[in-house]
């Protein structure tokens, strides 16, 4: 055989095929990064001073102090936990009708648009911004937090529920419809069995998210363990702050494991 085979090979570009576009893109990214990094004006002396504080924080994290602020911590914790549970229950309860209303294959057009609008508003606004407004309206404390989390839950659960209902197996619904079932019977027999396991899974997941969020909205006065944490950091009590953070991490781990266990148990 005397055929000469090539001795070089280059991997062909996979995404941007045109060489000029590729160079332009790479250049653009470089310029953006340079510009972006140049906006970061770091006060190095301040950072240097902060190192000592950072060290104290890490020490506080490793040797947390649960005892000296235990009253504040336990009250914040009770507020957070109760807020989490009540808001998840109420949020899910409201989400179910809204979710059904936002499913194109079940609801009339005008109801569909109203429900989708509610979902869109709830998803677009962040918990912390909602909390700011609700605290202004309802006063400080966990009640405002409860309302915030309930509202946020609606956007989350109703959206996923509606998407789920829209994706259900049409043939099953068809079969039930063919028996002459009413709309309510249709929902009960064709839709509910198909989406119920998912709904329970999503609710447990949201419970977890709501707890994590309850630790944040306290910063703007909506009660919960976030308020305790905020105070501890403001006072530079890093050992107490470390304790609060460890409690949050611990509870999130516990809810994550138990919710995955519960989901397996329920299915």
């Amino acid at each position: 055989m005397s055929v000469a085979y090539p001795t070089t090979w280059r991997r062909p570009p996979q995404i941007v095929k045109d060489r000029r576009w590729r160079i332009a893109l790479q250049l653009g990214i470089l310029i953006y990064l340079a510009l972006a990094i140049s906006t970061v004006d770091v006060n190095w002396t301040r950072v240097y001073d902060g190192l000592e504080r950072g060290q104290r924080f890490i020490l506080g994290f490793l040797q947390p102090d649960f005892a000296s602020r235990w009253r504040d911590i336990s009250q914040g914790l009770v507020e957070s936990l109760t807020m989490t549970l009540t808001s998840t229950v109420v949020g899910v309860a409201i989400s179910v009708p809204i979710g059904i209303g936002a499913a194109r294959n079940l609801a009339p057009r005008w109801i569909y648009y109203i429900c989708r609008a509610i979902i869109a508003v709830s998803r677009a606004l962040q918990e912390i911004i909602i909390a700011i407004f609700l605290v202004a309206m309802f006063g400080f404390g966990p009640f405002a937090g409860f309302l915030t989390l309930s509202f946020a839950t609606i956007g989350f659960i109703a959206k996923l529920l509606a998407d789920d209902i829209e994706e259900i197996d049409e043939t099953q619904a068809e079969a039930i419809r063919a028996t002459g079932a009413s709309w309510l019977q249709l929902v009960n027999y064709a839709i509910q069995p198909q989406v119920m396991p998912r709904l329970i899974g999503l609710s447990l997941y949201r419970l977890d998210i709501n707890f994590r969020e309850s630790a944040v909205i306290g910063i703007v006065g909506a009660g919960g363990i976030g308020a305790t944490l905020n105070t501890a950091i403001d006072r530079y009590e890093y050992d107490s702050a470390g304790a609060v953070l460890l409690i949050i991490i611990g509870i999130v781990m516990v809810t994550e494991y138990s919710s995955s266990y519960l989901r397996k148990f329920l299915q």
């Binding site: 301040r46 009540t86 912390i128 309802f138 006063g139 404390g141 994590r212 976030g226 781990m253």
Partner: protein
């Protein structure tokens, strides 16, 4: 099920025992709810709650119309916000990649030591909201963009790390076996057998997280970590409601735009 033990005459949806457990479960949930509700509302001042509608109407009236002339002043902090999100995402992804490889069952060098550590890093980062990270970092290294970037990066490790290690665990073992069979070293198996398989997931996750980070970095300013949230905080402090409306509209527009960009990019990648 191999055989049905008995045939009862009356058909029921569930066995009596199961039904009892189900009802018990619901009852327990209701009781728990009532108990929690009472605990939570112990200190609630109901007069404030009753007053809420009029408060809402009052704030609503003050918020309209938004102060359009405020818009130019918002552009530099908006630019900062985008930079916080982008640089924070890049930093977070860079830190998340090694953590993910340590956490994935099929790539971790030690199942009993490094894997639990990596999983703890992921859980810790995921449990703590970026706002809390920002709160801490502002206290430690002072207010400014840097605190925001680091906060976003620290929060991103857990998210990216978790999704990425799941992607690594889902890789096709046969492809890895085939690369191993050629006599490749561990590093070569990684770069030929595993990395090509997780590349689409990697880019998808990174862009997805960037989108979330844009959303989160808009509020970091509330605790002093730079960006448009600083303006929000300042306007709220002086009760300048028309400015608040303007900021909220701008945040909303940014979030919608970033969601669109990320959807387009993920579509192009996959």
């Amino acid at each position: 099920m191999t055989e049905i033990p008995h045939h009862s005459q009356v058909w029921t949806y569930r066995t009596p025992r199961k039904r009892l457990m189900l009802w018990g479960g619901w009852l327990a949930l209701v009781a728990l709810f009532v108990w929690c509700w009472q605990l939570m509302t112990r200190d609630t001042i109901w007069a404030f709650v009753a007053d809420a509608p009029s408060q809402a109407a009052d704030i609503g009236n003050r918020m309209i119309p938004p102060r359009l002339s405020y818009l130019p002043e918002l552009m530099p902090p908006l630019w900062d916000t985008i930079n916080i999100a982008t640089l924070g995402t890049i930093g977070g992804v860079i830190m998340a990649v090694p953590v993910a490889f340590l956490a994935a069952r099929n790539t971790t060098p030690s199942v009993h030591v490094l894997r639990p550590i990596a999983l703890f890093i992921i859980v810790a980062s995921r449990s703590i909201n970026s706002l809390i990270w920002a709160l801490l970092l502002v206290a430690i290294i002072g207010p400014g963009i840097l605190a925001g970037i680091v906060a976003i990066a620290l929060r991103s490790i857990g998210f990216v790390g978790k999704l990425l290690y799941e992607a690594i665990e889902e890789t096709d073992a046969r492809q890895i076996e085939a690369v191993t069979a050629t006599g490749a070293s561990a590093a070569q198996v990684l770069s030929y057998g595993i990395v090509p398989q997780i590349m689409p997931a990697f880019w998808g996750i990174s862009v997805f997280r960037w989108d979330i980070n844009i959303r989160e970095s808009t509020i970091l300013g509330l605790v002093g970590a730079g960006g448009i949230g600083l303006k929000l905080q300042a306007s709220l402090n002086v009760l300048a409601w028309p400015q608040v409306t303007m900021i909220l509209i701008l945040i909303l527009a940014t979030v919608v735009l970033s969601e669109w960009v990320s959807a387009r990019m993920r579509h192009a990648i996959i």
